[in-house]
């Protein structure tokens, strides 16, 4: 009984930590460019397919394909997304941009379906998936390593944002672009960095989560929604918030599916979202008006 609970908890934390990566990227972009990216789920779906392209068409070794996937993701989902979609449309208003990202999501999803495959593709696991025993709970090593890796990435990112000059400039840009510019921060470059980091985080999340399921064109639908909700539930003006939101949803999702109802597990994020909005709209860790990264 206890071991089952621990098992459910640990695998929930593992999935949740990957959700957190997606949510953090989403929150960063939201902060720096007031861009709500409705294609965020597709941003996590696509890198896995870029890796498969590297493996199957260019005959790269696994590490080469992963690097190729990461580089292409940063190029397409970071730089090109900002230059070709966000920059021209943002002046027309937030709603127009939201609609554009919805269309972009359809574009990515349908392109993968038409040009690669409509079937789920097996994705090579980066990490070993042997079962291991922790206090009687049987957990896959992959889950533990996923958790460790994504937490490590979050720590590195936090250190980068707080301890380096560039990171501090990015925070200043997110808080007040006008003042940051006066103080000599290259605001445009910082915003670009935010988009690149978002793309990299999405790619890493993609590499970690895809081996658990299969690589499929429709993977983004649920992932995107969960990432938004994780960001809102945790409080999207802090990295810690998105992290807590992601972990919370991962764990609750697993608990509900195991102990309450499997049919309605997908309804859980909605209920959590409405509760949070009613009780604490700034999110669990958010501060009401602050706009810190």
């Amino acid at each position: 009984m206890m071991s089952q609970f621990l098992q459910v908890l640990l695998s929930g934390l593992a999935t949740g930590s990957i959700y957190a990566l997606v949510a953090i990227g989403f929150a960063l972009v939201w902060q720096a460019a007031q861009t709500i990216n409705f294609a965020q789920g597709e941003f996590v779906m696509l890198p896995a397919f870029l890796v498969l392209v590297g493996l199957n068409y260019f005959d790269l070794p696994l590490w080469g394909a992963l690097l190729f996937g990461l580089a292409m993701s940063i190029l397409i989902l970071g730089a090109a997304f900002k230059k070709l979609v966000v920059e021209p449309i943002l002046p027309h208003g937030g709603i127009t941009l939201v609609i554009a990202t919805i269309a972009l999501g359809i574009l990515i999803r349908e392109s993968v379906k038409e040009f690669y495959s409509a079937e789920g593709q097996p994705f090579p696991s980066v990490l070993p998936s042997d079962p291991i025993n922790i206090f009687g709970a049987v957990v896959s090593l992959q889950d533990i390593l996923n958790l460790v890796l994504s937490l490590g990435i979050v720590v590195l990112l936090t250190l980068f944002l707080n301890r380096t000059r560039t990171g501090r400039c990015m925070q200043a840009t997110a808080q007040n672009p006008a003042v940051a510019e006066i103080l000599g921060v290259d605001v445009k470059r910082m915003v670009l960095y935010t988009f690149l980091i978002n793309a990299a985080l999405a790619a890493l999340a993609s590499f970690l989560i895809t081996p658990v399921y299969l690589a499929k064109f429709s993977n983004g639908e649920t992932l995107g929604l969960i990432a938004f909700i994780a960001a809102i539930v945790g409080g999207f003006n802090q990295i810690r918030g998105a992290l807590v939101g992601g972990l919370l949803i991962g764990v609750l999702d697993n608990l509900v599916a195991t102990y309450v109802t499997a049919e309605y597990r997908a309804a859980l994020p909605l209920i959590l979202l409405i509760l949070i909005i009613l009780v604490r709209p700034q999110g669990i860790l958010g501060t009401p008006e602050g706009r810190a990264v």
């Binding site: 449309i89 554009a100 919805i102 929604l225």
Partner: protein
């Protein structure tokens, strides 16, 4: 455009809508009927998006609520005219309940709440087999009969839908022109000024969303009778996004935008049939390109062309926001 010309134009369009299906095959009449139905759904979303400036990603769920309510009641012997209002009312109540928490906070929370709601409705429709028939859906939904006028054949059903559409459009015209509707527009153009003039922005936005949802329910009640078969898959998130893009493509905030947008989205697959699977890819690219160059939609393209050839007085830039309120 002056009022006279507009009136004549509307009459010509209605005459066209009456004359166009005569002598056409069943399939073309079916496509035209679904164009009218999606125009109603898009008209409702236009109130939420174009006038109140909030994104709803659950219009297909409201269509589902309208469709399932109407279908269940008509299957148990109710007349469509009695069943439809209940479905529409259910949409208003649900929309109100959903919008209430979401609109407490600034930002695009309604978009996320409705996004999640769409998933929830889909789950309920699929899982509660005792009520909704699960994945098999509901079959054999009757079409309404009015004395001697039966809508069982496609042409009479088209005219019935056309009549409902015209009534719905007139009601929308009334809403948009009423003090309420003007408050919606004031809100979209300049929320701070609207609030300073005593507009209760939160209540107005909530009402816009709830009324917009009612139009979704009406469209659902019609589509249940048109297809005579409903299943959860026809009301998924993809369909909500499709209706949203209809509004954006046609021109959000313009009265005739939804009709144009629904026409494009319904007809484009027919025109682009030769591209087979690439239709959605081409469509998505077209939407993004259009949003970059003409963010106000296809009606905005007409405005651009008119401005190029017909000289008109230009409002002072600092007065522009106020000038638009007229």
């Amino acid at each position: 455009m002056n009022a006279w010309l507009r009136r004549v134009l509307i009459l010509v369009l209605i005459a066209l809508a009456i004359g166009a299906p005569l002598g056409q095959g069943n399939y073309i009449i079916y496509v035209m009927t679904s164009w009218l139905i999606f125009s109603i759904a898009a008209m409702g979303l236009n109130l939420t998006l174009g006038y109140a400036g909030q994104i709803s990603l659950a219009q297909a769920s409201f269509m589902a609520i309208g469709a399932y309510t109407t279908a269940l009641l008509t299957l148990s012997g109710w007349h469509w005219l009695a069943a439809m209002p209940l479905g529409v009312l259910a949409c208003f109540v649900v929309g109100f309940g959903l919008g209430y928490p979401a609109l407490r906070v600034k930002g695009h929370f309604l978009a996320f709440v409705t996004l999640a709601f769409n998933t929830l409705v889909f789950l309920v429709l699929r899982n509660e087999e005792w009520l909704t028939g699960g994945t098999y859906g509901l079959v054999g939904i009757p079409r309404p009969t009015f004395g001697l006028f039966s809508t069982m054949r496609s042409l009479p059903f088209y005219y019935f839908t056309l009549m409902v559409t015209i009534i719905a459009a007139l009601a929308m015209w009334g809403i948009v022109r009423s003090p309420w509707g003007r408050a919606f527009r004031a809100l979209r153009e300049n929320p701070i000024r609207a609030e300073s003039l005593g507009v209760d922005t939160r209540r107005i936005t909530l009402l816009a969303f709830a009324i917009g949802s009612m139009y979704g329910g009406l469209a659902g009640a019609l589509i249940a009778s048109l297809v005579q078969f409903i299943e959860p898959g026809s009301f998924g998130l993809a369909h909500s996004l499709r209706i949203l893009l209809m509004v954006a493509v046609g021109g959000a905030g313009y009265f005739f935008g939804p009709f144009l947008g629904a026409g494009v989205v319904i007809l484009l697959p027919e025109i682009l049939r030769f591209t087979e699977g690439y239709y959605l890819i081409i469509y998505a690219v077209l939407v993004i390109v259009m949003l970059i160059f003409v963010p106000s939609g296809m009606i905005g393209i007409w405005g651009r062309i008119r401005d190029r050839f017909i000289a008109r007085p230009v409002a002072r830039a600092d007065l522009q926001q106020g000038a638009q309120l007229k």
